[in-house]
């Protein structure tokens, strides 16, 4: 019975923790502009993140090494430093976006300006990282994030034309007939953005470091596999629900999503103030949880690369550089937000840059997952490797195409 509860908790936490500000904004933007014609990207992204998380979790459980330790050991210092710099900066960008997202969500709940919420949010993130036990942190934010199911409920309440939605989803090449010639490049730009939002690199740093934090061994792998294989796809369905809600309510009115407030309007239309309450709790929980994860990831990447002592399982005084690095990162994120930059704009860039940086984190994991010195007999099977290679190609294509498309489309204008 206890095992069943543990399993349920793991799955539920995976669902609730799947979405972050990148998913919320990108799916809503895409739904409001393209309907569900980009839905296939969510599927591709979810399969990818399942594959990726599974491999990195297995590597951590079997070898006891977390991602950046492995990157350093396998790629050597030159490639490792380049990898670290890029991953760290993009992680920092995502952190900034998440803290901004918390502030925006709190504004929606309270009407108080987000600039006032940002220091509060950053401080709260730090406090939780400083004091709260890892598993409690994960479980609380994950379970509260489950309230985002209200997006799926709202989609049903809106009584959409399911045939139309299905047609959009299954005929991904449908670009409207009266579209500008640039529409194709814009479509693919947003495909990459959505892909980056689904396959967030910090998720992998966090997952594998978390495995070490919670001292996973090989027998914990089965549980983690279930969490990932059930939880993440269900989280992906929520992503589609967000896009679907935007497609049903915003697209017909030709409203392009540019702010978080627009993301929740469809939920209000579907279920009124009660639904709105749920979605706001969910957004605060999801963005706060993601802010925690990105903050910890920034600590993990630096500490693991430079060989510092790290981990929430240690007293802060025994992982001094780790904690100071995280404090500095939060301060930098806060500083960037204090310049008045729009957190939604930061989010939109962070997902595209996440897509660009994906090969850097993915390739070492794929290499190590096949290395018998680290993995013993738990190296990748043939099926995993087949998918692994396929995704390597997809990730490389997305990464290379991102910047040219960004330039051509003016960042999706």
């Amino acid at each position: 019975m206890k095992k069943l509860l543990g399993l349920a908790l793991g799955v539920l936490t995976a669902i609730g923790g799947f979405l972050d500000i990148g998913d919320l904004v990108t799916n809503a933007v895409v739904g409001s502009r393209f309907g569900l014609t980009l839905g296939w990207v969510v599927i591709v992204g979810v399969v990818g993140i399942c594959l990726f998380a599974q491999m990195s979790g297995r590597v951590a459980a079997v070898s006891g090494r977390a991602t950046f330790e492995i990157i350093r050991e396998r790629l050597g210092p030159r490639a490792g430093i380049a990898n670290l710099a890029a991953s760290f900066l993009i992680n920092l960008m995502t952190l900034t976006a998440e803290v901004g997202g918390v502030a925006l969500a709190l504004q929606l709940a309270s009407s108080i300006e987000p600039w006032l919420w940002m220091p509060v949010a950053a401080f709260a993130v730090w406090l939780v990282v400083w004091r709260v036990k890892f598993s409690i942190m994960e479980n609380v934010t994950g379970l509260l994030g489950l309230t985002l199911i209200v997006f799926a409920v709202s989609l049903f309440l809106l009584k959409p034309d399911w045939m139309q939605l299905a047609t959009q989803f299954l005929q991904p090449a449908t670009v409207p007939a009266d579209a500008a010639p640039q529409a194709s490049s814009t479509y693919w730009y947003y495909a990459i953005a959505l892909f980056g939002a689904a396959m967030t690199p910090y998720e992998v740093f966090f997952f594998s470091s978390g495995a070490v934090e919670e001292k996973w061994s090989i027998k914990d792998l089965g549980q983690s596999r279930l969490n990932v294989l059930i939880g993440f796809p269900l989280g992906g369905i929520l992503s589609l629900a967000i896009a679907g809600c935007a497609a049903v309510v915003l697209l017909p009115r030709q409203i392009d999503v540019t702010a978080l407030s627009q993301v929740v309007l469809p939920v209000a239309e579907a279920g009124g103030k009660l639904a709105l309450a749920f979605v706001l709790v969910g957004i605060v929980a999801a963005t706060f949880g993601a802010a925690l994860e990105t903050t910890l990831s920034s600590g993990y990447t630096l500490a693991q690369f430079f060989g510092w002592s790290w981990g929430k399982f240690r007293k802060p005084a025994q992982a001094a550089r780790f904690h100071i690095a995280m404090i500095v990162c939060l301060l930098i994120g806060l500083g960037v937000l204090a310049t008045g930059v729009d957190p939604v704009a930061v989010t939109e860039f962070s997902v595209v840059f996440s897509a660009i940086a994906l090969p850097l984190t993915y390739l070492p994991i794929l290499l190590v997952a096949n290395d018998p010195q680290y993995m013993g007999r738990y190296v990748n099977g043939r099926v995993t490797n087949a998918f692994g290679m396929l995704y390597l190609v997809i990730i490389l294509v997305a990464s290379l195409a991102a910047i040219p498309l960004m330039i051509i489309t003016g960042a999706g204008a």
Binding site: A79, Q107, L108, A109, S110, S111, A180, P181, Q182, V249, L250, R253, Q254, I255, D256, T258, A259, L260, S261, Q262, V264, L265, A268, E269, G272, K273, L276, P404, I407, I408, G410, A413
Partner: protein, 154 residues
């Protein structure tokens, strides 16, 4: 993994060249008229958003906080659009006329948005919800029609 220096230099040069070429093709598609079209469409989108927020609020389906935030976000975007259109470089008389027409429509849009904000906050002397709603919808429709006309002129 040492790539010979010559090859590295060549790859770098190619990359820079490619970026340069791409920057050249950066289709500010349609030039100034294209920018005006996109700005008009964005403004129409903002007004529709304001209109939807108002409708949900008057239906008691939304809270004041969410409605207020949605309206503020759209108004802020309208102001940004106004600024970017005002500072747009125009080359000939046709573009200049187009720009001033867009600006006047944006002014209308901003005022319509503000009247919605006042209606929601029940500021003294504010228009009724229905009037504000009509005003916002009307301004949005005009902007959208204008953008369609502009697009044909690229």
């Amino acid at each position: 993994m040492d790539i010979p220096r010559a090859r590295r230099a060549t790859s770098l040069a190619v990359a820079v060249l490619a970026c340069g070429l791409l920057a050249g093709c950066v289709t500010t598609a349609g030039g100034a008229l294209g920018d005006l079209t996109r700005s008009s469409r964005s403004a129409a989108s903002d007004l529709q958003s304001i209109s939807l927020a108002l409708a949900l609020f008057s239906d008691d389906r939304s809270t004041k906080a969410v409605t207020g935030t949605a309206i503020e976000d759209s108004l802020a975007d309208l102001v940004t659009l106004q600024q970017s259109v005002a500072t747009l470089t125009v080359d000939d008389a046709r573009e200049r006329t187009a720009r001033s027409r867009t600006l006047s429509l944006l002014d209308d849009a901003l005022e319509a948005g503000i009247s919605v904000k006042e209606a929601v906050n029940e500021v003294g002397g504010a228009p009724s919800v229905i009037t504000a709603h009509h005003r916002a919808e009307g301004a949005a429709d005009r902007l959208w029609a204008w953008s369609t006309r502009l697009e044909k002129l690229w």
